[in-house]
Amino acid sequence: MNSETGIQTKKRKRKNKVIETSVIIALFIILAVILPVVIPAFRLRLVGRFLSLAIVALGIDLIWGYTGLLSLGHGIFFALGGYALAMHLNLQIPEGKIPEFFTLYGVEKLPWIWQPFYSFPVTILALIIIPGIVAGLIGYLVFRNRIKGVYFSILTQAALLVFYNFFNGQQELINGTNGLKTDTEKIFGVLASSPNAQRGFYVTTVILLGLVYLLCRWLTSGRFGRLLMAIRDDETRVRFSGYNPTGYKVLVFGISGAIAGIAGALYTVQTGIINPSIMQVAFSIEMVIWVAVGGRGTLIGAILGTMLVRLAQTSLSESFPEIWLFFQGALFLTVVTVLPDGIVGWFKDYGSPKLRSLIRRDQPLVTYPSLVEDPEVQQERDEIGGRR
């Protein structure tokens, strides 16, 4: 019976894959095609924002859920992406002119940092690559010294604060605290806040969410993904197997940063403004809780968690704004103490078997393998069989 288990798992795997693919396609159709028609524009914009946040959540899941690195500084990369796109939008003005806010600080020449953002392709590249490189660099400086665990988390948080301060302080460069508006700017000649542009952003978000999901799926499923899990579970052992974990961690942190950059850009155009407050400590930790609520280590969980928490936040803070923080605090506590594997984990462990037994399709129990050959157990089984 043992030789069959291998085949069975393979069969089950294939079946699972079919289910997964069809669910994803169905979701994609609902999100990209049906939803824009059904719900009003301002709600759609809200959903679009949630979906772009789900993209960061995927990035966080990649490093936290799979690699075990808890970053509390993803706001940096998120903001970098957002700023890059916002700068491009702010440069959609006649040749020779500079964005209006510059006159407030008496700046007359466009700072050199702005120059590349005239070009759309460069902007797109920049909003992916800059956050990626910044993340990789921070990661390299930290991982190289085998600083890990909470130290890493604290350092990313400190880095976040530093970027927050830097962006706040640089008025002549990027309008400091006021940030950059995108709603009043144009993209491809269309006003960014117009329904058409917004619908475009929305669909782009859905498509990118799908692509990022596939990327994360690819990264976490192969040998590379297994190595990430190995690093999470036992980094020392990985070293003794001849791998240098530093490179892997840097790469995956960089990718996660780049993903956050994409998300930030999408979020910015669907919010209408970006300013340094996006890099507040609270927001970056919140990202982590989305993943935790959904279930770390499962990509679907990251998306689900984000949507649920954000929905709860919107509905709660619309009606009782003062309660939201209590609720959020309680959420952190519950997820950590009672529901460590999140909703998806809980469903896998309890919900799914319950549901299956309800519809009478129990899964065969996976028994502890050594029991199979244990003579005592075998005898017991024979006895039970005999009684029947």
Partner: protein, 252 residues
């Protein structure tokens, strides 16, 4: 015969406490050496130094004639030293096959791992190894679900998958049943035909099973004696350390 490992005047101290004290040791290529000694004799530290986890305070370690000082663990591992830990350290959230596949990977840099897939020869190695360690029927089970003995064997398999020249095995029989112990012993003996092995062990019956070559006894971080199993067994110093009485006193 050429020496694969030479250790000269090795001292390791942790804040005043000398875990290893002026130790000299050498291993012929192709030899299976068993190291025994009471708890706290410095056996695990000995392995820590060879694998680069701990840096020597004094003295040096030569592997195939090359000084291992300041070389990071992963490079030492790539040079051909594989280590098995005392409690089996396998990746619990991966299947047995995936565990082996991960270690079997020939190109361990980031990009080849990301884009490369296991080629045929690697897949064959993994399949062969699964059979050698007797886990071919459990290949697709999460390592978490394996029994203790199976985990021990899996970790030994992972060592071999690394295709090292020198295997360092720390208490492979700890916590195993009699039958499992014998399995592991047979596995080690068959591996000894093509590898150099250092095995640290407590279980004397097991030591007798595998010690065809020399046995080294460590005591308080230093070499107490070295020789064939019978010689070591009857060495009064060893008996002193282990039993506190010479064998003739056992009868009363």
């Amino acid at each position: 015969m050429s020496k694969i490992l030479e250790i000269e005047n090795l001292t390791v101290s942790f804040g005043g406490f000398k875990a290893l004290n002026n130790l000299n040791f050498s291993l012929d290529s192709g030899e299976l050496r068993v190291i025994i000694g009471p708890n706290g004799a410095g056996k695990t530290t000995f392995l820590d130094v060879i694998t680069g986890k701990v840096q020597p305070t004094k003295g040096r370690v030569l592997f195939k004639g090359k000084d291992l000082k300041k070389i990071p663990e992963y490079k030492i591992s790539r040079m051909g030293i594989g280590r098995k830990f005392q409690t089996p350290r396998v990746y619990l959230n991966l299947t047995a096959k995936e565990n082996l596949d991960l270690v079997c990977n020939r190109k361990k840099n980031v990009l080849p791992t990301l884009f490369g897939q296991s080629d045929h020869s690697e897949q064959r190695t993994v399949a062969g190894l699964l059979e050698t360690i007797g886990l071919d029927k459990r290949a697709n089970l999460l390592a978490n679900l394996l029994s203790h003995g199976e985990k021990q064997r899996l970790e030994i398999g992972m060592l071999v998958a690394q295709s090292p020249d020198l295997l360092l095995v720390d208490e492979p029989a700890a916590g195993l049943t009699d039958e499992e112990t014998e399995n592991v012993g047979a596995l080690l003996l068959s591996l000894a035909e093509s590898h150099s092995i250092i095995a640290i062990e407590h279980d004397m019956e097991f030591v007798r099973q595998i010690a065809n070559d020399k046995v080294t006894v460590l005591h308080q971080g230093a070499l107490l004696c070295e020789g064939k199993m019978d010689e070591v067994q009857n060495d009064p110093r060893v008996i002193e350390v282990y039993l506190g009485e010479a064998p003739e006193n056992i009868e009363h």
